[in-house]
């Protein structure tokens, strides 16, 4: 194209793409038929289109009047596989860190340590999830041996500050959570999915200056 342009063949406008212009080549009766055919087409297709749109005046709109005029909370209407905010039940967390490894964008940070009071017991001193960065892919849920980390159906995570979206599941490193030891042939006693998160969210409504989910600030430099 560029060569043509530089040679100036595009100086004037190029011919528009060849159009099939039946009107110009065909005999008069055909052209007359076409002329009135266009009008007939307009009437016919407008008739159909208008009848379709009019019929929608008496059909049910599908609008869901989120958030206040729904039969129940939208979060409760979602399917069980829905991948909303992540929730961790620390009482069944084995501290295996499989979720941290599985996360492709490193939004999970788990630190473990020895319990100072009982050196034989290992504890989780930190289990942070940066929900603001999480892309809700579900890859962390899959390797979890006890189902401690789960996607809930909660999705309303508006906070005043993006920092408040770092959910610290071990709020206080001074009170770490001990490792859970799975019992063979027995399901881990996990709390129902969503319950823990809902409770925490209710405690920290979004207008709070800083969510109580988050102990004030990490050690900033």
């Amino acid at each position: 194209m560029a060569e043509e342009t530089q040679k100036g063949t595009l100086g004037g406008f190029p011919n528009p793409p060849a159009k099939v212009r039946v009107e110009q080549s065909s005999p008069l009766p055909t052209r007359v038929r076409e002329y009135f055919g266009h009008i007939a087409d307009v009437v016919k297709t407008f008739w159909e289109g208008l009848s379709v749109t009019l019929s929608y005046m008496v059909r049910r709109p599908i609008t869901v009047q989120y958030p206040d005029r729904t039969e129940k909370r939208v979060a409760d209407m979602l399917p069980s596989r829905y991948r909303g905010l992540l929730e961790v039940d620390m009482s069944v967390c084995t501290g295996c860190m499989a979720c941290e490894r599985a996360c492709p964008i490193s939004v999970i940070k788990v630190s473990t340590d020895k319990d100072p009071t009982n050196p034989k017991q290992r504890v989780i001193t930190q289990f942070d999830i940066d929900e603001s960065k999480c892309m809700f892919c579900g890859l962390c849920v899959e390797p979890c041996p006890t189902g401690a980390i789960q996607h809930t159906r909660e999705f309303e995570s508006t906070m005043k500050s993006v920092d408040s979206l770092v959910f610290r599941w071990v709020p206080d490193p001074e009170k770490p959570a001990p490792f859970y030891r799975p019992v063979k042939g027995q399901d881990a006693p996990r709390a129902p999915v969503g319950e823990i998160l809902r409770k925490k969210m209710a405690e920290a409504s979004w207008i709070a200056p800083a969510s109580i989910l988050v102990p004030d600030g990490p050690n900033k430099d």
Binding site: T5, L10, A18, E48, I62, L78, A102, M135, C137, L139
Partner: protein, 385 residues
Amino acid sequence: MAIDMQLDRHILRRTESSDEEIVVNFGPQHPSTHGVINFVTQTNGEVIRRSVPDIGYLHRGLEKIGEQVPYPGYMPFTDRIDYLAAMFANEGYAVAIERLLGVEAPPRAKYIRAIAGELCRISNHFISVGTMAQDIGAATPLTHALRERESINDLLEELCGARLTFNYHRIGGVAFDLPEGWAVKVLRFLDHLDSYIQEWDRLITFNKIFVKRLANVGIITREKAIDYGLAGPNLRGSGVNWDIRRDMPYGAYPDFDFDIPVGTGRFGTVGDCWDRYFVRVREMVESSKIVRQALAKLPEGDIQAKVARKLKPDAGEAVGRVESARGEMLYYVVSDGSEKAYRLRVRTGSFMAMGIIEELSHGIMVADLIAIIASLDVVAPEVDR
């Protein structure tokens, strides 16, 4: 991507402009560019001399990211390549890595992939034809299309837990089996869909103004379409009977019986905007056929092949091709034996479609440019990756 003024100068340098010509930026924020794309357009009044697409506003370096995350971890990123048809982006990547590893998904997984993929194709085509009607000036079809798509989104949400970024496929299979009672819901929806498509046609497809706006506009001849490497519905709209699902079969597609709609030039010339539009409408019906067959023949068994948790394919390379809603999606993966890809390349239909717009833009009207962009069904993140 270029800074606008530079591109203005660039395009003016390349043509002899007259005093009456102006350079207009269609984008990056414009209602009809379907994402953040800029069309630097030189016009003389309503007639366009040339329109140069300027892309890259949504470039996120997804190919580079592919070199930095382990093989299974890249799957969620593929969702972001094409958010309107993420199922295919997932599937293409899974197919490519499976070929690299030499594993094969179990038959049930393949069938589920086909079901999920074809549902996703319907939802994508609804967006495509709906926004096309919107760009031509009819607002109502878009909301109807979105409503239908919403039903599919609900179904897919139930299947894989997300509405757009599915992350449903896994290397060697799929993440979940079908939920209970899901098949019945899908069949009920397909019954609705098949009858709804006729209403859609009455509402917009054959509308005289719509036909007049699209027929004989943006004609891409068969030769040109192949030369420019167009793919999918854009290629078929030009009359090329080529579909990866049938011609380079993957997954469960050899088991299904379906037609490949191609452009016929019904109201104008083969390869015009209306043909591309209508190919999409017909493809929805074909996809519905495929889903019905897949649900009827769905085999029992595993949904996930045995794959090591830490993937370390041997050094080598493989190509995974799938027929995405926007045409052939090609993943080219080079492995050096580590657990991350050495090079990961995604070739998408939208990128190729953008390449032809400058060629088509000579001597058309401003409104035609909008129609052409809409008919090529470009999605900005897929162009820029």
